[in-house]
Symmetry: C2
Subunit: 336 residues, 2 copies
DNA sequence: ATGAAAGCGCTAACAC
DNA sequence: GTGTTAGCGCTTTCAT
């Protein structure tokens, strides 16, 4: 395999010139540049990644920590990963895949061995043991999901508070005044998961503003759990006309459970789901939803982490605006 | 960050000794090894990946090419990726993620720049343009999916011929003699996809052996497509009592379409699906299925590619034996 | 606008 | 069983 010296010889220049032609860190005469480029093409030369990393202290590799076992939102994770890889390539970087399982050690390992220039960590919990480790590394990192204290670390997430408000707002506009919220399982709230709480905040704020009475019920991921939550909500507000669903795993059963209570979806009860787009439209009825924008999150994460590479920029938290798509479960009743 | 010289100094040995302690390529006295290990621990030393790669011509990174956009079997792809990463780690390797989109160039790029020691390529087509490129590289590669000509390349896949035979065999044992096959969409056969054809071969072979009359219908991935295929099969064999389904995306609608033709599943028509386990049991009824063993495929792929690293072993094609899980769609009629 | 030369941190042949 | 030394192929000062 040809190396930089071979190319230099063929082009009749020094190795450093070839390097500068490639990096553009020096102005090179057009003639020289052309000769070098031609030699590169003819020899099909590619700089050796290891040598480059050693000399420049940059690997052009981003480490991506993914919850690979996650039984849950596999398609969302995939979409996110795809976005990260694609965006990374457009910044001339590759992506090294790390699993959640490697935990703190994995982060330390790739950072200390200078395998990666930066880290993107998915599925960050409110109190995540990896946060301390990440702060102690001098490898820039960006978190997907905003933890309780993101001091010193960059983070990007859906703006869950805004998402909550948007859901209420949409229903309020359609005339709904009694709304129920079907949340995540109780343990999600108990362990203080940031996004779940932020969503609640948004819901309550908007409910107050729009004169909406809101009942809240956490919900286990099962038919029985859903029945219990629906019962609770109907006990509190027998006249409720709309639901906001955060536990997307109960969507398949929702219609049936509502029928058991003699409520038809969407005529008696309208529904806004907070879930990935592909989960919104695969249950016989297409749910109006606020999407988890996996693609945008991935792209943003890469951009953020790249902007911090020279260590220049400081940490930031970016919240993506929610996007509500009206489908079949929130009909405009006045229009009938 | 401490480097090998720092560690050597602290342990009172030469740098090469530290290197040899780490690699185990030389016998070291216990005392020396202990001193070195202590120094390493105290300084939290990790060898620089770039330097290591440059000096040893080994990066300890495996490149994994994944169909990231694939709307279809996302969970299977994920499971496979997880298996590859996990297994790679157990061989002390990391995984660099490449997308299908990068195509041939991507393969050339990572191989020529010596970014990876080996390549695993998923979703290989019968006539895949990447095959030629892979053969020309001196980076060992293993394909997931057996192409038409795998000369010089290693490949691993489910033994689809055996899977076909196994499905027939299972149904024959239960007494079924008139069986229909619901295949992949026509274009899959037209483009000569190896696995689809091998499955057919297995079906026909076993059908002959077990005195089974087999009707075959390709099937578009839609309700209408399924109806058409079912109609065709029932026209050919009005008395058929069992189906083998290869197009897993029609499973959700199968029960209903059969009911339209006044056949109840599983009492009037038994079904064996060839699909990932998680797709077998999420349609109201649990399908008897032959699994796509994503996990084993990933593990095997890594093992195969690692065994070829020193360039010693030669290419091999490994076919994994099919595993049939009896669930609710192939009841034992005699037992009633 | 270009070259020469000094590393980057490690491995492995060579020496003893 | 251990040390010495010569690279690995590149980037980046320093020089001109």
């Amino acid at each position: 395999m040809a190396n930089i010296a071979d190319v230099a010889k063929a082009a009749g220049v020094s190795a450093s010139t070839v390097s500068y032609v490639l990096s553009g860190k020096r102005t090179i005469s057009k003639e020289t540049a052309d000769r070098v480029h031609r030699a590169i093409r003819e020899m099909d030369y590619r700089p050796n990644a290891g040598a480059r990393a050693l000399a420049s202290a940059r690997t052009n590799i981003i480490g991506l920590v993914v919850p690979l076992r996650a039984g849950q939102n596999v398609p969302v994770v995939m979409e996110f990963v795809a976005a990260v890889v694609t965006r990374a390539r457009s910044h001339d970087h590759d992506v090294l895949l790390l699993t959640q399982d490697e935990g703190v050690d994995g982060l330390r390992r790739v950072a200390a061995s200078a395998l990666v220039d930066a880290l993107i960590v998915m599925d960050v919990q409110a109190k995540d043991p990896r946060l301390t480790a990440l702060r102690s590394l001098d490898t820039p990192a960006v978190l997907i999901g905003v933890p309780e204290r993101s001091t010193g670390l960059s983070a990007v997430d859906l703006d869950f508070a805004a998402a909550g408000s948007r859901a209420i707002e949409h229903l309020a506009e359609l005339g709904h005044r009694r709304i129920g919220f079907i949340g995540q399982p109780p343990k999600v709230y108990e362990r203080g998961t940031g996004y779940a709480e932020r969503l609640l905040t948004g819901l309550h704020t908007a409910a107050a503003e729009h004169d909406v009475t809101l009942s809240v019920a956490p919900c286990e991921s099962s038919m029985a759990g859903l029945r219990a939550s629906v019962t609770q909500l109907l006990d509190e507000q027998p006249g409720l006309t709309a639901l906001i669903v955060h536990n997307e795993s109960v969507l398949p059963a929702l219609r049936e459970v509502l029928l058991e209570r003699e409520r038809r979806l969407p005529d008696d009860v309208a529904v806004v789901a907070i879930c990935p787009d592909d989960m919104a439209s695969s249950h016989g009825i297409d749910y109006t939803n606020i999407a988890i924008p996996a693609d945008e999150l991935g792209t943003a994460a890469v951009d953020m982490v790249m902007s911090r590479l020279p260590g220049k920029n400081s940490a930031e938290t970016r919240l993506l605006a929610p996007d509500l798509t009206v489908r079949d479960t929130t009909p405009d009743l006045k229009a009938r």
